[in-house]
Amino acid sequence: MKLSIERGTLLKALAQAQSVVERRNTIPILANVLIEAEGNQVSFRATDLDIEVVDRAPAMVERSGATTVSAVMLHEIVRKLPDGALVNLTEDAASGRLTIAAGRSTFSLATLPKEDFPVMATSEYSSNFSAPAKVLRRLFDKAKFAISTEETRYYLNGVYMHTATGEDGPTLRCVATDGHRLARIDAPLPEGAAGMPGVIVPRKTVNELRKLLDDDEATIAVSVSETKVRFATPLITLTSKVIDGTFPDYTRVIPMNNTRRLEVDASEFAKAVDRVATVSSERSRAVKLSLDEDRLILSVNAPDSGAAEEELAVAYGDERLEIGFNAKYLLEIASQVDRENAVFLFNSSGDPTLMREGNDTSAVYVVMPMRV
């Protein structure tokens, strides 16, 4: 294999590959990236056995071939090369090394045979559709903060992507929860997605996917089966196993009959929560909301460290209410609101509270209160 490629193009292609590679590996080849050159294209493939990413880039291929080298090391080398450099990759079959040459720098990296590289089995996808990057970005970005890290509830360690019926018809829906807060985000169902099996997309895949979604104009080809999900752009293909488990019936969790309605400027609210939470105890971070006729008092009372109080003008016309929340959870859901006011719907101080943006039901959040 012998090829030359522009440094910037190479760096971009390697970035995703090296982030899939797990830092601590017991299987040496999993630390490597599989480089395959053919025609006028080179591809970089990396995997952790659960996720596989293939990144393609245009290159001048002199001699086609394939080999594997340390993903992190290759990425580091390329990153440190000067911008605009032309990088030559040459495989020397006799010495089992890959030579990387650019300008006056030359590196040679140990290789492992390409035959040993585990390539994820291709599978039949029962559902294929395309969706604008912008739509998927919103679905996953707004849901992912609620993903659980609890290993005992592994089926919550991802975003549940499935089809559902929303208020405006069929939707592609993403739900994540850790038992303390929940996010339910809807988008109009893309053509061809009907009948798609619901899948739990693991946290790491969600983070890797995010890198494909930056371009507003891009369209992502999505393929789903019971066990795998694939997201593809013309140059990058991300394939991932899905979490083998049943996502709990979240519909029961979303309160339908909460009537006490608070409307507040989300960013003012978040800032105030952040301010009063400064004195709350490091771990519990409890903040009390006291609501009365168009008035919200946020307060923290931590016997060991101190107390804080702040008043906000809000729209609230229901019975007086005192309710406590974890400040971190409040901040996280308030920061999801970017266009209109935040609307909170309460029942009692012990029941789950619902939050949405204005009257938009395409993104709703549920948060569990805390005793204060």
């Binding site: 609890e150 290993e151 005992t152 929860t177 850790d178 038992g179 303390h180 807060r181 929940l182 709990p248 029961r252 969790v253 105890s281 771990r283 519990s284 409890a286 016997p303 406590g324 974890n326 012990g350 789950p352 549920v366 569990m368 209160p369 805390m370 005793r371 204060v372």
Partner: protein, 417 residues
């Protein structure tokens, strides 16, 4: 040189026998009247209580411990002559001493005796730090004016009072810090009284093997041995930086302890770090139902203790010992501290399910760690488990009933498994 008769408590200027009662139990030490940190350790505590309560046992070797599968909790001095030691498996102990009388532990009685001893100690100083039912550190600094006698006299009076009023003997170590006091109490057991003064600290420590240091177990000992350190003298040759580099935090401790330096205070309430309970099965088991029953009862015991102490834990720990003695330990961090049986049990149960069917097991244990005050516990609910709040309410109600009508007034069916 100041001397003290341990029988009649007369202080005198020195001599082999007490000038007042002619007793040979005389304590002589140049620093006798100036040392004030003590460690008191009862002699074969459980066994001594049993002998006291049943005089027939007086001249027989007595082993306190549980069942065929259990281990020796305490062996009396007669049994120790045969080589029986604490924590030895019972079958081995009985092989060494077949004529031993094995008594099941009566913890309530021991706790009662322990309370009585503690009250005696607290009459001397508020700075009493119990290490277990039968041993404690005492800081008697500054009590001489109050009691009109130096600490050594007060301590001799304490053990004499324990013998007279409770029929139990203890050994005392007196020194200038906790580390040395603890070593001293072990020098002359039973009915001992040993003193390690400031002047002889270094000469006393140097020849001893490193395992004399509290906290140096088999593993540390092996690590030290690998570095060529067997005796305290070897430790003294090491630079502090080198010890820290090689042994980390432990190295720092070793450096100071080898020099007889220990600045820990005698703490009335040493902060509890974790609460745990475990049980060894009569025979190894892998049966899910049996394990589950134990898991519930242990969770309940842990929760009871946490509630009694006003504490809660952020981490739930499951401990399993397999038939081949392999130890499996699993931890789960909760989102917030808990003191509820229900939550401890559920977390432990999930850990057990994940540990897999790698039984059979001989021991199971449940604990909580990373403790927090109960005011921070169980404040938030679980969206996905709406029944959790109801179960928590039921548990609090059951606790109230038990507080009023006794422990057996209400139990879960699960506890009967």
């Amino acid at each position: 040189m100041p001397a003290l008769c341990r029988d009649c408590l007369t202080s005198f200027a020195g001599g082999a026998r007490c000038p007042a009662c002619r007793s040979p139990r005389v304590l002589t030490h140049p620093e006798l009247t100036s040392l004030s940190i003590a460690h008191m350790d009862c002699d074969a505590f459980y066994a001594s209580v049993e002998k006291r309560d049943n005089p027939d046992l007086r001249d027989k070797p007595v082993i306190v411990g549980g069942g065929q599968r259990g281990v020796v909790s305490t062996a009396c001095y007669l049994a120790r002559i045969h080589g029986v030691r604490s924590a030895m498996p019972m079958f081995q102990a009985l092989k060494l001493c077949p004529e031993a009388v094995v008594v099941k532990p009566r913890m309530a009685v021991y706790a009662e005796a322990s309370r009585a001893i503690r009250a005696m100690m607290e009459a001397l100083t508020p700075a009493v730090e119990p290490l277990s039912l039968d041993e404690a550190f005492l800081d008697l600094t500054g009590t001489e004016r109050l009691h009109g006698a130096p600490p050594a006299v007060l301590l001799a009076r304490l053990v004499r009072r324990m013998e007279e009023e409770l029929g139990l003997t203890g050994s005392v170590g007196l020194s200038h810090n906790k580390f040395l006091a603890k070593i001293a109490s072990d020098l002359d057991k039973p009915r001992g009284f040993s003193v390690i003064g400031r002047a002889e600290t270094a000469t006393f420590l140097t020849p001893h093997p490193v395992r004399i240091i509290w906290g140096v177990g088999t593993a540390t000992q092996a690590a030290l041995e690998a570095a060529g350190i067997r005796r305290i003298a070897d430790l003294l040759r090491w630079d502090r930086a080198d010890l820290v580099a090689r042994f980390g935090h432990m190295g720092e401790r070793l450096y100071h302890l080898a020099r007889g330096e220990d600045h820990r205070r005698v703490n009335r309430d040493e902060k509890l770090k974790s609460i745990s309970k475990e049980t060894t099965f009569f025979e190894d088991t892998a049966e899910a139902d049996i394990l589950d029953g134990h898991l519930w009862r242990l969770s309940e015991q842990v929760a009871d203790r946490a509630k009694a102490k006003g504490l809660a834990g952020r981490v739930v720990v499951l401990k399993l010992k397999r038939g081949d003695f392999q130890l499996i330990s699993r931890r789960h961090s909760l989102n917030e501290p808990t003191q509820l049986t229900d939550r401890i049990y559920r977390a432990a149960r999930a850990l057990l399910d994940q540990a897999g069917a790698r039984g059979p097991f001989r021991l199971i244990g449940v604990g909580i760690a990373d403790l927090a005050p109960e005011a921070e516990a169980d404040l938030s609910g679980d969206l996905l488990d709406p029944q959790a709040a109801k179960r928590a309410g039921a548990e609090r109600a059951a606790d109230a009933i038990r507080a009023r009508f006794g422990r057996a007034a209400i139990i879960k069916g699960r506890a009967l498994r």
